[in-house]
């Protein structure tokens, strides 16, 4: 059944980011012959339209007002609502990002419809649009259909494959009005990120959990990551370890932290609570070191070592040096 789809894009410089390309691919699939539009907001939005067309969009609603450069929910909700109306969208997709978490519910309640958050699948099930999302901290998955239109979903990064880029693809551009009023003001910003390789870009993530026993355990995690290579491995932490103040919140992997999808995820002294697995289960390979042979982390791992990390990790560091 043909449906008109609108994707809310996010920018990475003068191009749409990789998640937007994934959403455009998913949107093209469920549009099933309907139109595929994208909303692009920010001073670089006009330039980014070309990358959206290359990723599958047919039409771009562009709000090039610099006021959109920072996400202010009232302004973005207005602009996206206007795009929904103009595109007669029946399906709206956006990322489960700091933008999507905030925008999705506002848009849904404002349009008198519904949103499903943090979806990992968007499908046409015999003519009905369904979405599937993890719940109960990752212990279960729930599949929903929508009783109202538009059907709105925020979608987890890396859960969808992008289309092969269509270089030179073109589309229609529709200008959106300048940003409207915002009831909230941004009074300040504080950057708190680890230097060097970022967690979500690292091909290898070494994560430590509560079982490390203290912040000094993370010094060993950092040494381990450095031995693998500073350009390859980043250090993450479980929520329990972050809540105990052992490692910065910016490095938290899990449902309420960052979702990482590296080639290799190394879980050290992490029990594997479902809410942690929600942040790393998309990794290509998981390996684990844990004292408890029954720890849940081993259920998701390809290889594991049962033992005390204080013995095993230094041995791994030595073995890597050989």
């Amino acid at each position: 059944m043909a449906r008109n789809v609108l994707v809310v894009g996010e920018l990475d410089g003068g191009e749409v980011d990789s998640t937007t390309a994934e959403l455009l691919a998913a949107g093209s699939r469920v549009a099933d012959g309907g139109s595929v539009s994208v909303t692009l907001l920010g001073s670089q939005a006009g330039a980014a339209a070309a990358s959206a067309f290359a990723a599958g969009a047919q039409r771009a609603f562009v709000g090039a007002d610099g006021a959109y450069d920072e996400f202010r929910p009232d302004q973005w909700t207005q602009a996206v609502s206007a795009s929904v109306e103009q595109s007669s969208a029946e399906v709206v997709l956006m990322a489960q990002s700091s933008v999507g978490r905030d925008l999705g519910p506002r848009l849904a309640f404002g349009l008198d419809s519904a949103v499903a958050m943090d979806c990992i699948a968007v499908a046409d099930d015999g003519g009905t649009l369904t979405v599937t999302r993890p719940c109960y901290g990752g212990n279960a998955n729930a599949t929903y259909s929508f009783a109202t239109s538009p059907a709105i979903a925020t979608v987890r990064a890396k859960s969808q494959d992008p289309l092969p880029p269509q270089a030179g693809a073109s589309g229609e551009t529709v200008e959106l009005p300048a940003a409207g009023e915002s009831r909230s003001t941004i009074a300040g910003r504080e950057l708190a990120v680890a230097e060097g390789l970022q967690l979500q870009e690292a091909p290898i993530v070494v994560s430590g959990g509560r079982g490390l026993g203290g912040p000094e355990g993370f010094e060993m995690m950092e040494e381990f990551a450095a031995t693998i290579g500073r350009d390859k491995a980043a250090v993450g932490a479980s929520r329990a370890a972050c809540d105990l103040g052992w490692y910065p919140v910016s490095q938290q992997v899990g449902l309420t932290g960052k979702v990482v999808t590296p080639d290799l995820y190394v879980a050290i002294a992490i029990s594997g609570a479902s809410q942690h697995m929600a942040g790393c289960s998309g990794s290509k390979t998981i390996i684990a070191v844990n004292r408890d042979p029954d720890a849940n982390i081993f259920n998701a791992s390809r290889w594991g070592i049962v033992g005390d990390y204080k013995d095993v990790v230094p041995a791994l560091i030595e073995a890597l040096k050989e």
Binding site: S98, D263, I287
Partner: protein
């Protein structure tokens, strides 16, 4: 000032995965035997945020509101024991089986009926369905501004100031009251009530409101008013069998693991 804290009772999220069961014929979680439901941890942290402001300002009343059945009294009593002043249970057969929309609609109607509310505090998400949209839904239905995933909340001079957790740090946002905020675990641990507070809370009367008290048409709340239709609830399959690397010493195990990773060209 009058603050509302929204509190939800949920199956204990610390339930081990092995004890987590679903009745697929009903699309329902089967309560794990011997494990009592708990107040969603993020809601306890939302209560903590409201209590800190009450203590700093000295003249705030906190009403804790829960949408649930009689058993949700336990969640309300826990927040009362932490220091909230009044409890309100939204309990009506018409409220059962609601999605985030139906829940937000019911909570917003309760806030409206209370009448003099300056701020609503919610957890960033309930640790059962993990949707994270009821707080924003209440705000949108009431027409109030909102900030989500805050690690610090201040209220002064008719303004709410919230420090939001962002992927690359923190953002401070300000908005006029009345407003809604959702609170994250970075705020810090919620307080443990003292025994005396628990006993006092047990004696407090909790007000009960149903659909008629809130002038809500039963067809707009609960399962009847839901917009998301749960088609299927299931336990996802986890991949493959783990291979545990054996060895007499940690050195042997480590060498074995590194060899496997090099063989698979992962390292």
């Amino acid at each position: 000032m009058h603050f509302v804290v929204c509190a939800k009772q949920i199956p204990d999220p610390e339930t081990p995965p092995s004890a987590f069961k679903i009745d697929e014929s009903k699309n329902e979680v089967v309560p794990a035997p011997g494990i009592s439901p708990v107040l969603s941890q993020f809601d306890a942290i939302a209560a903590e945020a409201a209590l800190r402001i009450k203590e700093a300002s000295g003249d705030a009343k906190i009403t804790v509101v829960s949408l649930g059945q009689e058993s949700a009294q336990a969640a309300i009593k826990q927040v009362l024991a932490m220091g909230a002043d009044e409890g309100l249970l939204l309990d009506d057969p018409a409220f059962l089986g609601g999605d985030s929309y139906a829940t937000a609609r019911t909570l917003a109607a309760a806030v409206e009926k209370l009448g003099d509310v300056d701020a609503v505090f919610c957890g960033r998400q309930a640790a059962d369905w993990d949707m994270g949209q009821v707080g924003l839904g209440v705000a949108t239905l009431l027409g109030w501004p909102a900030a989500i995933i805050a690690k610090d909340v201040q209220i002064a001079d008719g303004q709410m100031t919230a420090q939001r957790v962002m992927p690359d740090g923190f953002e401070t946002v300000q908005m006029p009251l009345p407003a809604v905020v959702t609170v994250s675990n970075e705020l810090g641990d919620p307080r443990y009530p003292k025994l005396q507070q628990i006993m006092q809370a047990a004696r407090k009367t909790v007000t009960k409101w149903g659909a008629a008290d809130l002038d809500l048409d039963p067809s707009t709340v609960g399962a009847a008013g839901s917009r998301l239709k749960l088609e299927r609830l299931f336990i996802p399959q986890v991949s493959g069998e783990v291979e545990l690397i054996e060895g007499d010493t940690a050195q042997e195990q480590a060498a074995g693991l590194v060899a496997k990773l090099r063989e698979a060209k992962i390292l």
